[in-house]
């Protein structure tokens, strides 16, 4: 237990907490250890304000009795201890407290919350509030604003279970509840889990076999280390990051033209692969252009500030759109880095969190220097459209070639200048030089054409004036002018002159003078989610008052602190997450825990999860052998139904799918059309990336089944897989079946499965023998060459079998 004294001294030492104190709480007497032992789980422990009480108050009361001054009723603030205790709460005496009385009254005019609010308290909630008042109505500063501490892992009874600190914290919770952890998953499941979690790709059957037969206790760690070094790790992490920052290949509004940005995506992949420290990663994206002598990568990284939706439609009023862009950036930067819904303060003070209208616009002011107005004038309906400032980047080889051509061209031009006189020889010479020059210029042009444009951030000399817009109304110029500043309850950037995006990035990642500790916690929770299937707090994008406090908050704290202490080392954090015993648990729920802990909030198992859309595609391509694993490059255009873009205009769109081998690159490279996201991505819940997405839905719909069953890529992959099988496997049905399942799902079928499969295969054989002409139709789907040496009927039969295997749950599920 931490004494009150220690807590308040911690608070004093922290700059932003003093603001928080200023905002709500003066003099706190409580114990933070409540956080880990919420009374909801045991009757004798006192209630925790943050865990048990605040969520109720926030949801049911703060709307009228919370931070929003304008909407506040009777000047009462239930989020403010002083106000509440002065007006309606008598600590220790629920009977005399008006607060409790009005919750329980029968009088329809007096009852709280008022009937017309549509909000009601359950008897259980009222009982909790009553008990809390009886226990003294202790408040706590809001958990998400209390900086994390390096908590000591608790002692556990089952001492041989924990492998690292994660296990101590989790097992402690299980033991207190009387729960048992799951046994370790079988080794095949484990290595598949690692591959999908680290790379978004399946292991090879041989890798699985090797791992299963490896008795070395270090074998698991060796796999982890190997995967962390794979170039596909960055691709896997990028899929998550690109959702957060709403990366897409098109402008989003109106004509939804392509814009140039794919090098930014490659930067993200590279950054994760190179393990660029997360604070540096943050600085480069928000303010790479403001770093001293920025590298090309750092300039490309500033594409982050340009990822938002834009429009150059004829009827656009620039002033309105500048306001829209500003709001978009505030929403995104606050959600991505702070897990805060500052976007809710666009029209009024935040209803639940200490964030004001002014905070919203002050945050917007950081981006007032982003040079972007040009596109209102020069944006075209071409593909891609123009969104200056842009730069062109080349591969290192091309860069070298261009330099060489430039040298040659300069030399030739020099020689040309020296040619004087009008005699035949000189004329001949000039003609020769000119021909050479033209040749070189032509060659250079070819290389230059291979370059890729990308939007970057350039800082304007004079930033736009930013005003508070009353009620968010961009036509209203009556609001005060604001300077760039962070939300006042979280601190202040002290600086002479105007604070910049770089200052903001520093503040977001500075554990001492900024909110680095809080940022680290937001991301520790998200990385946890990526590997454990659910966050410690399930609200990955809202650590505000309406978000869910974490289970095991001390564990989350510890992860955040380690993240910072290790220099924001993402790979190290990821490794810590998977080296625990908890991660390696089987995902099969214990029967009684299905009822006692249906959402697995005690992490007594790993959570099976459906793969993200991109990896479902990758998995098919990998099994078939079609996958082209080149990292980076232009966005790719896989097959898509004809006419899918028919509602687009300015310009009208004809989608041309790639005819070369880009057709089979990974899903992360797919062209991301915001208004009409590729149907395969859409049915498997990839977001259209108009806004920040921290957690994708995982649905299971008939439309998704139709894609898996019938989409061109599924059929093509099945046919190529069949070709591979017929060429590589033995002649018998059993041998071929085994080859296929080993390659696709890394195992053999059990006896029952085999029986079902053989029945199916017999059906397929009979059906195609009867209709050999339809066999030809099936195998001709897709660009990949048909192996003419194979019998079309046999190929169709095994294509159909491959389709069956490709539609098994294991192709889309990571257990």
């Amino acid at each position: 237990m931490l004494g009150a004294q220690k807590v308040s001294s911690t608070l004093k030492n922290s700059k932003f907490i003093s603001r928080w104190e200023f905002f709500t709480i003066v003099g706190i007497i409580f114990s933070i250890s409540h956080l880990d032992a919420p009374a909801a789980f045991g009757d004798e422990a006192p209630l925790s304000y943050n865990h048990d009480i605040r969520p109720i108050l926030s949801d049911k009361c703060f709307f009228c009795h919370g931070p929003d001054e304008k909407h506040r009723k009777r000047k009462l603030r239930l989020d403010d201890e002083a106000s509440a205790k002065k007006k309606v709460i008598i600590p220790g005496d629920p009977k005399k407290s008006k607060f409790i009385r009005l919750l329980k009254t029968d009088d329809e005019d007096d009852i709280m919350p008022p009937l017309e609010s549509g909000k009601t308290l359950t008897p259980k909630e009222i009982a909790l509030l009553e008990r809390w008042v009886k226990e003294g109505a202790n408040y706590e500063p809001y958990w998400a604003y209390v900086p994390p501490k390096k908590h000591t892992p608790p002692k556990v009874k089952k001492t041989n279970w924990p492998l690292n600190f994660i296990d101590h914290f989790l097992l402690d919770r299980m033991e207190k509840k009387g729960f048992q952890p799951n046994p370790e998953a079988d080794k095949r499941t484990l290595i598949r889990r690692l591959y999908f979690d680290f790379l978004g790709l399946p292991p090879k059957y041989e890798d699985v076999e090797k791992f299963v037969n490896d008795s070395d206790p270090k074998a698991y760690e060796a796999v982890v280390d190997r995967l962390l070094e794979s170039q596909h790790f960055g691709e896997r992490m990028a899929v998550y990051w690109l959702d957060l920052v709403r990366y897409a290949d098109t402008v989003g509004y109106h004509g939804d033209q392509d814009h140039s940005i794919s090098p930014y995506r490659d930067y993200v992949i590279k950054a994760f692969n190179k393990n660029i420290p997360f604070d540096q990663f943050t600085r480069e994206q928000l303010a790479g252009d403001l770093l001293p002598n920025p590298t090309l990568d750092q300039k490309v990284a500033t594409g982050y500030n340009r990822l938002l939706q834009t429009s150059h439609e004829g009827g656009v009023q620039p002033k309105e759109y500048i306001a829209i862009y500003q709001a978009d950036r505030v929403r995104n930067v606050s959600q991505v880095w702070m897990g805060a819904t500052l976007g809710c303060a666009q029209c009024h003070d935040h209803k639940y969190d200490p964030l004001s209208l002014k905070d919203f616009y002050s945050m917007g002011a950081f981006f007032a220097d982003v040079d972007e107005e040009q596109h209102f004038k020069v944006g075209t309906n071409a593909l891609p459209t123009r969104r200056p400032p842009e730069i062109t980047i080349y591969s290192p080889e091309d860069q070298k070639l261009i330099e060489n051509y430039d040298k040659k061209i300069a030399a030739l031009q020099g020689s040309l200048k020296k040619q004087k006189g009008k005699d035949e020889a000189t004329k001949k010479n000039i003609a020769k030089l000119q021909k050479l020059l033209k040749e070189q210029q032509g060659l250079k042009k070819k290389v230059v054409a291979r370059g890729r444009k990308t939007m970057i951030t350039v800082s304007k000399k004079t930033p736009r004036t930013v005003r508070v817009l009353p009620r968010g109304n961009w036509l209203d110029d009556s609001g005060p002018i604001v300077q760039p500043q962070v939300p006042i309850t979280l601190g202040k950037i002290e600086k002479e002159g105007r604070a910049t995006r770089l200052d903001l990035a520093d503040w977001l990642t500075d554990p001492k003078d900024g909110v680095g500790l809080l940022t680290a916690r937001v991301f520790a929770n998200r990385f946890w989610y990526m590997f454990y299937g659910e966050g410690l707090s399930r609200s990955l994008d809202d650590f505000g008052g309406q978000g869910e406090p974490p289970v095991a908050p001390k564990l989350l704290d510890r992860l955040a602190i380690e993240f910072i202490e290790n220099g924001w080392d993402v790979k190290k954090l990821v490794k810590t997450l998977v080296m625990s015993r908890a991660y390696r648990q089987s995902s099969v729920a214990q029967a009684e825990l299905v009822q006692l802990d249906p959402y697995n909030r005690y992490f007594t198992r790993n959570i099976p999860s459906r793969l993200p859309a991109e990896f479902i595609r990758d998995n098919l391509l990998a099994a078939s052998g079609l996958l082209v694993s080149e990292v980076g490059g232009k966005s790719i255009k896989p097959y898509q139904p004809a006419g899918y873009y028919k509602h687009l205009n300015f310009p009208t769109r004809k989608y041309r799918s790639d005819t070369d081998e880009r057709q089979w690159k990974r899903g992360v490279y797919m062209h991301w059309q915001r208004q009409f996201l590729h149907p395969m991505l859409k049915v498997f819940d990839a977001p259209n990336r108009e806004e920040c997405t921290a957690k994708r839905a995982r649905s299971n719909t008939p439309l998704a089944a139709l894609v898996s069953l019938n989409a061109e890529v599924s059929i093509e992959a099945a046919r190529v897989f069949a070709q591979l099988t017929l060429n590589q496997a033995g002649k018998s049905i059993e041998e071929r079946l085994s080859y296929m399942t080993r390659r696709a799902i890394q195992r053999d079928m059990d006896a029952t499965e085999k029986k079902i499969a053989l029945e199916f295969i017999q059906q397929v054989i009979e059906s195609y023998k009867k209709k050999p002409e339809s066999a030809k139709e099936l195998i001709e789907i897709g660009n990949a060459p048909v192996d003419k040496k194979l019998d079309p009927v046999e190929l169709a039969i095994w294509t159909q079998v491959a389709r069956g295997i490709f539609n098994l749950p294991e192709m889309t599920l990571r257990n």
């Binding site: 939804d256 205009n649 499969a757």
Partner: protein, 481 residues
């Protein structure tokens, strides 16, 4: 506490509660669940928890909505809102007192002049509804429709204005009304999506329509609108691959589901149960969708009545398909006709747009009425905004986008036909009487479906999200019978 924020586990919770926690079997089956049965367990009378539980709040007047969206923004001044004053002031400067400080689209910086109505109006029906000559067929419906002349929206460009009309906000990522309604009320036919979108084109400069307009936003994706195409493949991927017959496809699905079920004996994963169901439904859809879209069982005189030619992708065909969808229990049917963006050449393009949509609209309402279906259907006609009383001349006289006053009409169950509701000022600029904001339209629509818009909310990012937002909305009782 059970964390209330919306996420996919919500449907899990619903199932879980229903089945007493014995099985998580039907996770995410969503609209496939017999939702009404689930709701029967919810105690009636008391104010329910926000969200899906306890819906409908009161007996509904209609079961479904057909929204005829005239995309691009038809002129109210040439359809339902006759302004003689504009005749008088034609070509004169438009009063600056009205336009000062107001949002304006393409006419930014231009001299603003009055533009007279570019057609004649007559009175129709028992109550003398004023309707323009461009809409002779709609005029025959004068006694069925309630004309709303006082619409107001907040977005002046097409894309955000559609988003606003569909979701109640211009911020991306929010569910559209069709998703809300299906999420709230469930579907009557598990072999079809509950929210279907069809589009047609014809007129001036068809504006793009983003799939965002039928997105389910933060609601589960099974509630998103599904686009049906009246030409080409009716639903993407609904056909078997070439060279695969129905029976081969059936064998395949059986194989997949048998193995899935076998495997799930070990894993007890509700996701796999859901997947099995999804595959079954997908296979059924492969039959039910083409059957629905195949107009060959409609008699020729019915096709002629609508003016539909099977496979032509016209608004007429879509109207006929809308009736077939309605018959099969689809809850929200959204037709878009793109071509109403009449910045110039208004007379020419009004003729084209009305020529393509007027008669089919009449046919749809009449057909529904004859079948006894209009009384439990709400039909809404209108664009994302109206057009300025001021002249614009991109290729002949036309009008710019206008959001402060425009017209729509409502018909069907619970609607007071033969009436006109609200009014704009004498120049047709501002709505001044019985103003109906888009949010009020949403509130009214939900009311007819038996939903109190204030009590239909879902937690998202910590907020109680409603279709009608936080700004307040009123049911327009004046349009109700």
């Amino acid at each position: 506490m059970i964390y209330p924020q919306f996420d996919p586990t919500l449907s899990q919770r619903r199932t879980f509660l229903k089945q007493g926690g014995l099985s998580l079997g039907a996770l995410a089956l969503g609209s496939l669940l017999k939702e009404d049965q689930l709701r029967a367990d919810v105690p009636k009378g008391k104010p329910s928890k926000p969200g899906f539980a306890g819906l409908p709040h009161f007996p509904p007047k209609v079961k479904r909505v057909i929204f005829l969206c005239m995309a691009g923004g038809p002129s109210h001044l040439e359809t339902f809102d006759y302004k003689p004053k504009l005749e008088e002031l034609d070509g004169k400067p438009f009063p600056a007192s009205l336009t000062k400080g107001q949002p304006i689209a393409q006419l930014q910086g231009a001299a603003l002049k009055c533009q007279r109505p570019l057609t004649k109006f007559k009175k129709y029906g028992k109550n003398g509804q004023v309707i323009s000559d461009y809409l002779p067929w709609t005029a025959k419906l004068a006694d069925d429709i309630c004309i709303v002349r006082s619409m107001v929206t907040e977005q002046i460009n097409h894309d955000p204005a559609h988003t606003f009309m569909n979701t109640g906000t211009a911020i991306s990522g929010r569910p559209s009304m069709g998703s809300w309604i299906n999420y709230g009320l469930g579907t009557e036919n598990s072999n079809l999506p509950g929210f279907v979108v069809m589009t047609s084109v014809g007129g001036r400069n068809p504006q793009p329509i983003a799939s965002r307009q039928w997105d389910s936003g933060f609601l589960p994706s099974q509630y998103q609108g599904v686009e049906f195409n009246s030409s080409g493949e009716p639903v993407y991927y609904v056909k078997n691959p070439k060279g695969v017959s129905d029976s081969q496809q059936k064998n395949l699905v059986n194989f997949v589901n048998k193995l899935s079920a076998h495997q799930n004996k070990k894993f007890l994963n509700p996701e796999i149960d859901a997947r099995i169901s999804a595959y079954e439904t997908a296979f059924k859809m492969q039959a039910s969708v083409p059957e629905l879209m195949d107009l060959s069982d409609e008699p020729q005189d019915m096709l002629d009545f609508y003016g539909a030619k099977p496979g032509d992708g016209s608004f007429a065909s879509n109207c006929l398909l809308a009736r077939r969808l309605a018959e099969r229990g689809v809850r929200f049917i959204h037709l878009y006709h793109r071509g109403w963006d009449h910045h110039g050449g208004l007379e020419k393009y009004m003729k084209i747009c009305c020529g393509l949509t007027d008669r089919p609209t009449y046919a749809l309402l009449t057909d529904l009425k004859r079948r006894g279906m209009l009384k439990d259907t709400l039909v809404i006609w209108g664009g994302e905004f109206g057009r300025t009383p001021m002249f614009q001349g991109k290729g002949g006289a036309g009008r710019d986008h206008h959001i402060k006053g425009f017209s729509m009409w409502l018909a069907g169950g619970g609607i007071q036909g033969g009436t006109t509701y609200g009014a704009t000022d004498e120049l047709g600029y501002n709505s001044v009487d019985n103003i109906m904001h888009v949010r009020d339209l949403h509130a009214t629509m939900l009311h007819l479906l038996g939903i109190d818009h204030n009590r239909f909310s879902v937690k998202f990012q910590g907020l109680d999200m409603r279709l009608t937002g936080v700004e307040g909305a009123e049911v327009a009782h004046g349009v109700l019978s």
